[in-house]
Symmetry: C2
Subunit: 80 residues, 2 copies
């Protein structure tokens, strides 16, 4: 089974990387851009066929390693 | 309009960050993990209501700044 995890900064947390990208886009004529936020996408291949078990494993990994629970939110999607 | 862009390494390109995450997960008992790949998620707020125009702007930005066309693939999703 494959899991796709997105990790994003919580709303209200200053996203310096996003601000840098926004400035770069503005300087190349992207005047329509009002906000940019940058997050991580982590694709995990799991040797586990049960959806509930896979979700449990990936949730534990997010809590312990992949996301910082103080500043980041995560979202897990399981794909066959 | 909001655009969600995912940038991932092309298949076959060595993902050192993904390998590092995989090793860290294996060391915390994630024996089921067979592969990890790490990419970027970029959320862009655009002051543009037309879907075709928005897609054109974001595609240009991906080609010129957000992704490296030699090593990376990108995927754009427009959200209202």
């Amino acid at each position: 089974m494959k899991a796709s995890v997105t990790v994003t900064l919580k709303p209200g947390i200053l996203d310096t990387q996003g601000q840098a990208v926004r400035h770069a886009l503005l300087s190349m004529n992207g005047r329509q851009i009002t906000d940019v936020r940058v997050g991580k996408l982590i694709e995990i291949e799991l040797d586990e066929d049960d959806e509930v078990a896979a979700m449990k494993i990936v949730t534990k990994m997010c809590d312990k390693l992949l996301a910082n629970p103080v500043t980041e939110d995560y979202d897990i999607k399981l794909l066959k």
